[in-house]
Structure formats: C-alpha cells, structure tokens
C-alpha cells in the first residue's frame, strides 16, 4: 500500500516525532517500499495458524517468575533524579502541560 507524505505526518504525530519537510519527502517512498515488501506475507494462508506470542521457548514458558510481594531495594530518589535534564525539589520538572 502506498504511504503518502500525509500518512507520514500522521504516523509521526502518533509516534511523538516532529519531522521536517525533508524527512517527510525522504521517508514516504522508503516506508512505502518497505510496507510493499512486507505485504508478500499476504500470499501465505495463515487462517489455521495461532500467532506467536513473544519469544519464549517452551522451557521459558514453564519458568515461574512470580515472587513474594515484598519491598526490594531500589534506586532511591537521589539516584533516580540524578541525571534528569531538569530536576527540582525531588521532582522531574517539565514545560507546561497545556499550551
């Protein structure tokens, strides 16, 4: 299916990407070509096939991963905020939400 520049703009919005006009012109034919390529899967009859769910092996599926609901040590506020671009008073500060 051809992907237009308008489609690219819509997808970029969904993905929270602000792309330039140049990128839109570049990506539209490239993503079109890739989408056309992956559409070769339509030739396969999968009506009786269950979809794979994740990458687990049978042994991985049998492995029990639950644990007791007990508090474990964690990073703590200091380390968690340590590398924030704008930390203030124990919080992550961001630009205004409504603008």
């Amino acid at each position: 299916m051809p992907i237009t520049e308008a489609d690219i703009e819509k997808i970029a919005q969904l993905a929270h990407l602000e792309i330039t006009d140049d990128e839109r012109r570049l990506f539209a034919p490239q993503i079109s070509e890739i989408v056309t390529y992956v559409e070769q899967l339509n030739a396969i009859d999968t009506s009786a096939v269950e979809p794979a769910l994740g990458g687990l092996t049978p042994e991985g599926e049998q492995t029990v991963s639950s644990r007791r609901d007990e508090v474990q040590p964690s990073l703590g506020q200091g380390l968690a905020l340590d590398q924030a671009p704008d930390a203030a008073a124990g919080h992550f500060r961001v630009p205004k939400v409504l603008g």
Binding site: A15, I44, P51, E59, G60, V64, P85, P95
Partner: protein, 492 residues
C-alpha cells in the same frame, strides 16, 4: 594471542599481571581507535583500578589453602573485555550510539556485567554501535561508523560493529554485543571472528537497553570458540531480574568443546544457497560443507519453507516492539532534552526529532504504522502467525539434524555508503540471521575463509533451543581443522 584460559592462568600463576594485561589492552584500544573508531569510551582509570584489585586478590588468595581459595571462582581473572554501548556498566556511559541519551551514565550494572566482574574480568570500555542497535553497517551510529580492521574503507557490519572490530583487531580476546536480528553474528562474519547468539532466555537482558524485547539476546564475540564458551559460561543462566530467562541447567561449555563431532548431522537447505548469494560466499560455504563431511558429520537436506519470509516478518515485529520500547526517550527523566519548547508535547516531539537519527525514526514510524488502528491485524498479527510457521520449520528441521548450516551474510563486507540510501537493501543483509531471533534458537558465526579481496566470510550454524554447547563444539571442530591464520591489516 593467548586463549582466555591461558591468559587467565598466566595471570593467576603470576607469570603476568592483570594490570599489565589491562594496560596493553588499553594502549591498543587508544592507539587503534584513531583508525577504527571502535570505542566510544575507554575507561583507563577504572580498568586499571579493577585490574589492581584483581592482582591484589590473587596475591592474597594464593597464600591460602586450595580448599579455601577464591581463585577457582575467578574463571576470567584479569581478562580484559569490551562491552557494546547498549549494555549498562556502572561508572561508564551508555549512549547506545545515540544523541538522545546525552551524557547518560547508568546507575547499575547489567546482570551479565555483574557476573563478568564477579568472575574477575576487567572491562576496558564501551564499543560503538548502530544507534539503538538498528543497522547492519554501523553507519547509523551518531558518533561516526566503526571501520572494518581488514579494510578500513569497508563496514564492520552491525549493529555490534565496535565489539567485532575490537576482537578482530586483537585489542581484547572477547567482547559482548547484542543480537536482535543478527547484530552479533553479522559483524562477526564481516570481521572474521566468532559471534554467538544464545537461545532466547539463556542470558539475562536486565541492563541491556531494549530494542525488540522478544528478539534481543546478549551475545559473545571471540576469536576462538573456546573463548566464547568461557564467557558464555559466566553470563548464562536464570536471573530473577529478567522474567524471560529460563530455568534450564547451564552445561559445562568448555568440557564439551573437544567432543568428537563424528556422526552428528548437519542440515543444509539448498534453497538458501540460491539467488542473491555472492558467488565467493557460496563457494566458501560449499567448501565448509565438505570440511564438515571430512570431519565425519553427516550432511542432510533440510527445508525451511518460510525462511524466505523472515525479513518481512522481522521488520514488522522488530519495529513494532522498538516503537514501544523507544517511547521512553522523552527528555523527562534522563539524557537529552530539546531547549525552549513552549509546552510538554512540543518538548517530547522536538527532543525525539533532534535526538534520534534517521534510521531510528524510520523504524519507530514503521512500527507505529503496523500497530496502528486498522492495520494491526493485517501486519502485526499476520507477522506473528508467520513467525509460528517459521518456528515449526525449525522444529521439523531439528527433528532430522543437530544443526543447520547457512552463510551468515549474503556478501563479504561492503563499502561505506554503498547501501545507506536504500533501507530495504540494507535490511536484506540480515536474511540469514533474523530467522534465529524469530524462532528463539541459538546461532553462531564461524570464520570460514577469505574472499579474493582478503575479506572474511562467515558460516552460520543454527541449533535447537539450548544447544549452545553443540554449536560451540561444531565451531571448535571447524576452527581446529581450518584455522583462519590471516590477520586483519589493522591489528594490535
């Protein structure tokens, strides 16, 4: 260059020291980085301090009686290693080859790193890679591509190109990479070293920056299969920090290396040696099939009828998972934030526009598209169904053989710029490697010769779940029979 076990023993026996070994590796890394660009960070100070601690520990433990000595618990004592820059090492950067992480330094170690450090190894630095492990040539690194040590006008492969080049150039005996669609095996083939992708769930992904969570595995680069076995031994096994690691016993990989390969059955799919395969690679693979025949293995025909669809399946599933995993890079909690955005929404979008490179944006958009309302069933669900068929193909093949042999890559290392404007052509480099990630099976690339231009060629062996020992044994048998004696032009 010494094997890892010889190097470790000579350090423990006092013939050489961890400090001297680390110093040599650091010097080589610094010197060769000018031509290779393999390292994004070389941690001289940290590495020497860890090496010093190892030397002191060896000195104090050597005085103790055998039964109380901690030395047997240090199988990698003083062994220098390099780590791909998408695996967290406390005290070093983790850029993932991207600008969006800015100066980020993870506050914790990946489980694989904790285990390597506990085993006595000395991590000397972080290696360059395609941004967020997305690429097959290293041209997607925000910090310039790694050069192939065999010919610096050519790509080292990707995405773990820096780790492959560091091992090929003799800077370190082994390195960690990550393999989502071939990112360990493909650069291993192009750089003439061993590259092992374990079974999904064999090595913890805790601390590996996520790309495609159902496909990602940490893998090992080494010059010798025996060295890859020594490193896998340390990092393999269940980890409660990664719920997808499986409760499966870790065998003694080194003990099984020298077992006879006679009578093992190697499957070959003739359909995979057809169109699109470079003639020199095909000839090298045909010769390697003969080598295995001479070694006493039985060569049998296998069919993987859905392998031809693997790239299509992969680029739906991998991009879908990536679009979700990379949503976390929003300029709020760590890394880069675009300046002067008027509101939160603009800040997110500008940060991601300025922080991500073109390939990452392409894949996020492709993944967003295939998951979007109205298209989910047609693309994502369809791909997951064909993934089931591919898994069934492998199960059927392994009912009849111990391993499947294919080329690792369709061509030897290509020139910089050759495929950079054609994403689909670039994706087709992964045609032989993505199948293992989709099926979850282990795979190894083994150097099997040089092209007329002196470029390495790799053969790939794929095995059933948890068959790493068998793959290492087959790789070791090949390397013993046909060692790659040539060295790359750029070498320590």
């Amino acid at each position: 260059m010494k094997s890892i076990s010889n190097l470790r023993n000579s350090i423990v026996d006092g013939e050489t020291s961890a400090c001297g070994t680390a110093e040599a590796a650091l010097n080589a890394a610094e010197k060769l980085n000018e031509s290779l660009n393999a390292f994004l960070e070389i941690d001289r100070e940290g590495a020497l301090s860890r090496a010093k601690a190892i030397d002191a520990k060896i000195k104090s433990e050597t005085k103790m009686a055998d039964e109380t000595s901690a030395l047997p618990a240090l199988p990698l004592a003083g062994v220098p290693l390099a780590v791909k820059d998408n695996i967290c090492v406390r005290g070093m950067q983790a850029s993932c080859g991207s600008r969006i992480l800015g100066p980020y330094q993870p506050p914790y170690n990946a489980t694989a790193i904790d285990r390597l450090i506990a085993a006595g190894s000395v991590i000397i630095g972080k290696t360059n890679c395609d941004e967020f492990a997305m690429g097959s040539s290293n041209e997607n690194s925000a910090f310039g591509p790694v050069k192939n040590p065999w010919d610096i006008s050519r790509v080292p492969g990707g995405s773990s190109g820096g780790s492959a080049a560091a091992v090929a150039a003799g800077i370190v005996p082994a390195a960690l990479g990550s393999d989502t669609g071939g990112s360990v095996r493909q650069p291993a083939a192009l750089c003439g070293v061993i590259g092992l992708k374990p079974t999904y769930g064999r090595v913890s992904r805790y601390g590996l920056v996520a790309f495609g969570s159902s496909l990602d595995q940490i893998g090992v680069f080494a010059r010798q299969a025996s060295d890859a076995a020594a490193v896998l031994q340390v990092i393999a096994g269940r980890d409660t920090h990664d719920a997808t690691t499986a409760e499966v016993t870790v065998p003694d990989y080194s003990a099984e290396l020298n077992q006879d390969v006679r009578g093992l059955r190697i499957g070959v799919s003739r359909a995979l040696l057809g169109d699109g395969l470079n003639a020199e690679v095909r000839a090298a693979i045909e010769r390697s099939i003969e080598v295995y025949r001479e070694l006493g293995t039985e060569i049998v025909d296998v069919d993987l009828p859905h392998a031809k669809y693997a790239i299509a399946v992969y680029y739906i599933i991998a991009t879908a998972e990536a679009s979700s995993n990379l949503a976390r890079y929003d300029g709020v909690r760590y890394g880069f934030r675009a300046k002067d955005a008027p509101a939160l929404r603009n800040m997110y979008r500008r940060t991601r526009d300025e922080g991500f490179g073109a390939e990452v944006k392409r894949r996020i958009m492709l993944g967003t598209y295939v998951l979007s309302a109205g298209y989910y069933d047609a693309y994502y669900l369809k791909a997951q169904k064909v993934r089931t068929l591919l898994r069934q193909d492998f199960a059927a093949a392994f009912a009849n053989c111990d391993a499947v042999l294919t080329p690792t890559t369709p061509t030897p290392a290509f020139l910089f710029g050759e495929k950079v404007d054609d994403p689909l052509a670039m994706y087709l480099n992964d045609i032989y490697t993505v199948t293992a990630n989709l099926a979850g099976v282990p795979g190894i690339s083994v150097p099997c010769g040089l092209s007329a231009d002196g470029l390495p060629i790799g053969l790939q062996l794929l095995g059933p779940y948890w068959s790493e020992a068998r793959l290492l044994q087959l790789a070791h048998a090949y390397q013993t029979a046909r060692p790659l004696n040539a060295r790359p032009k750029v070498h320590a």
